[in-house]
């Protein structure tokens, strides 16, 4: 394994570095728009765009690799005039593979990309649509010195600082960036543009260490993620919690759509005319009442009492069994999203409280 390098970059050098990278790469970074929303945005003109590294982007990078709707193929229907037989064919146009630098990605979102890589590229059949978009990506992440209000990545062990996964990780040291190289592309980049960097000295390393320590002490949320996983594994979660939260779910799918690690999708045909149409994949949510409905009305999930079960169990129990850690990355987005209060923090506090009170499992 390659040694990670520690470097330092002057605060003013970031934009010049990006300007260089933009010659060969598309640039995506958080930008605050006129409505005051910070969103990952494709930057076409660096000089007239202000990158916002102070706010958490409202959406994650998910749509860049797994867009909300994606055409899988076109289909064409024809009729053989001689025999009257129906012909039916499929035509694929894969998404463009565009080398992209993602800048200002926070630890949770970087971690989420590693999780979706596993889902789409490693654990199952490889998904070429995801791969096309994901190939040739460079991630310049930013460690969180000050976690945001709903953040709990300390509890999911996916931040606020990362040890790997990024190409470059930047830590804000006031007047300068502390720069760590992670994946090979990041190290290559610091060699190609060595003029922007200098080796970190002992004072820089101490300052970085200090920033990381202080960041860990700044979380406002105390969320018992590991305890939640344990209680779920031991089947010590009262049914009433699932019932209560399920009854408050409004079927909007917002939590799944905003979540950087929710990857469920639907595939549907969208007819254009008699002669064909498109097969489209689109985001789906396991909380939707029709998610598991089958022909004839049978549904393996009781929507009234259990629709939110899958989302929490998948992230906190099944993925822990499978991969040794939860697949919630603690970004807190679902907390801000759900107006019914059916979010990860709420769920974990409810079950840990019930666990403390020694509530009986089951009914």
């Amino acid at each position: 394994m390659m040694m990670n390098k520690n470097l330092v970059m002057n605060k003013d050098y970031l934009v010049p570095l990006l300007r260089k990278l933009a010659k060969t790469h598309r640039l995506v970074a958080p930008v605050r728009n006129e409505y005051g929303d910070t969103l990952f945005t494709i930057i076409t003109d660096l000089d007239r765009t202000e990158i916002d590294l102070d706010h958490q982007p409202q959406a994650s990078l998910k749509p860049y690799f797994f867009p909300q709707t994606d055409t899988l193929c076109r289909y064409v229907i024809d009729c053989d005039p001689a025999t009257g037989a129906m012909d039916y064919s499929f035509h694929v146009q894969l998404p463009q593979n565009r080398p992209t630098v993602y800048v200002g990605v926070r630890s949770c979102d970087m971690f989420a990309v590693m999780y979706t890589d596993m889902v789409f590229l490693h654990e199952h059949e490889r998904d070429v649509y995801y791969k096309q978009r994901r190939d040739n990506a460079i991630f310049i992440t930013i460690a969180c010195n000050t976690p945001f209000d709903n953040c709990f990545c300390n509890a999911t062990r996916s931040g606020p600082f990362l040890e790997s996964g990024f190409d470059l990780q930047l830590t804000d040291l006031g007047d300068r960036w502390f720069v760590e190289t992670g994946r090979a592309r990041g190290a290559g980049l610091t060699e190609d543009w060595a003029c922007f960097f200098r080796p970190a000295d002992e004072a820089d390393k101490r300052a970085q260490f200090q920033a990381e320590l202080e960041a860990r002490g700044r979380f406002k949320q105390l969320v018992h993620v590991d305890l939640a996983s344990k209680l779920l594994a031991e089947d010590k979660v009262p049914e009433s919690i699932f019932r209560d939260l399920s009854s408050r779910c409004q079927d909007c799918g917002g939590c799944a759509f905003i979540c950087p690690t929710c990857t469920c999708f639907n595939i549907t045909d969208q007819p254009r005319d008699e002669a064909g149409g498109e097969r489209v994949r689109s985001w789906d949510a396991c909380t939707f009442s029709g998610f598991t409905a089958m022909a004839g009305g049978h549904n393996s999930v009781d929507v009234e009492t259990g629709r939110i079960r899958r989302r929490f169990l998948h992230k906190l129990q099944y993925d822990v069994d499978r991969h040794g850690r939860p697949s919630c990355v603690g970004c807190g987005r679902c907390v801000g999203m759900c107006f019914g209060g059916v979010d990860m923090i709420r769920f974990i506090s409810m079950i840990s409280e019930a666990g403390e009170n020694g509530a009986e499992a089951g009914e």
């Binding site: 899988l72 053989d80 590229l121 490693h122 190939d135 469920c264 789906d284």
Partner: protein, 297 residues
């Protein structure tokens, strides 16, 4: 705390290396297959015999009983359908489709020569190798006979490799049995015991009337050694498994299939979840011991 190791297990992509794709392999892209023959099983079920258009693909296509294909029809999307044919009879495969909704209704209109899309085979098959040397009891309800027919034909074609075969098949009415020519042949074959029952008889029906669970008491079985394969509607599976357990069948010796809403067939889309499993890749075939709570079928 093994933080770093955890991380490494989780991050298989840690070095940024993505293995190259096998040329033009796209799991979501159906292959074209032509309808060679259509068999009308009854008023609700048609069996389609399909052959791949692409000869090369056709020659290295293999599957096992219990697996399924995702079938595409124009404007209808896709539906998972089990093989009802046996891979021991190459040169094409059959899907038997019961009219249930949009796609399965459109499938009833297909005629020989028409083109469809298929991708697969998907799913964990029946454990045909482990079943060798065993007496086998097949219990089917309705369209559940389709995947079991695949397994029964497979065993028959393998000659002595399998023990005695018992087929118990229940249907709502006498008109709703599928695969009549097979049933007739099986009833005359001494390697098999084949019993049929209906929920409701008619004037011509002289056979049994009653639930398929009743047939279990009519045949001789050894729950410790024999293997049972059960396929049908959820409630039927539940009652049959309970009855088999009462007759001494061990949990590992009872095998069934689960039905779920499916979209991708390859374990990614999430639709077919069942507890910590995905039915499309971890199933659809399961042993009783893998299904703790039968009320959730």
């Amino acid at each position: 705390m093994m933080h770093k190791n955890d991380l490494r297990r989780f991050l298989q992509a840690d070095d940024g290396y993505v293995p190259p794709l096998v040329a033009d392999r796209n799991v979501y892209l159906p292959r074209r297959a032509r309808v060679r023959q259509v068999v009308r099983e009854n008023s609700l079920v048609r069996t389609l015999e399909l052959v791949f258009e692409d000869q090369i693909h056709s020659s290295d296509f293999t599957y096992l009983p219990g697996q399924f294909m995702m079938l595409s029809l124009p404007h209808c999307g896709e539906a998972p359908i089990s093989f009802s044919s046996s891979p021991t009879r190459p040169g094409g495969f059959s899907l038997s489709i019961r009219k249930a909704g949009k796609l399965t209704t459109a499938a009833q209109e297909l005629r020989p020569g028409d083109m469809v899309g298929v991708r697969g085979p998907y799913g964990r098959p029946f454990p045909m190798a482990d079943l060798r040397g065993r007496n086998l009891v097949f219990v089917a309800g309705g369209i559940g006979m389709a995947p079991l027919r695949s397994a029964i034909l497979y065993c028959l074609d393998k000659g002595d490799e399998y023990g005695h075969i018992t087929v118990l098949y229940g249907s709502k009415t006498p008109g709703e049995f599928c695969f009549m020519p097979d049933l007739t042949a099986w009833r005359q074959d001494e390697r098999l015991t084949c019993l049929l029952t209906v929920d409701e008889g008619d004037d011509d029906w002289q056979g049994r009337v009653g639930l398929v669970t009743g047939l279990l008491d009519e045949v001789e079985m050894d729950g410790g050694r024999d293997r049972a394969l059960v396929c049908g509607p959820g409630v039927m599976i539940r009652f049959v498994l309970e009855r088999l357990a009462a007759l001494g069948f061990q949990e590992d010796n009872m095998i069934t299939t689960l039905e779920r809403h499916m979209k991708c067939g390859v374990g990614i889309c999430g639709h077919c979840h069942f507890e910590n499993k995905m039915v499309c890749t971890d199933g659809p075939v399961f042993t009783r011991s893998e299904l703790p709570d039968l009320r959730k079928l």
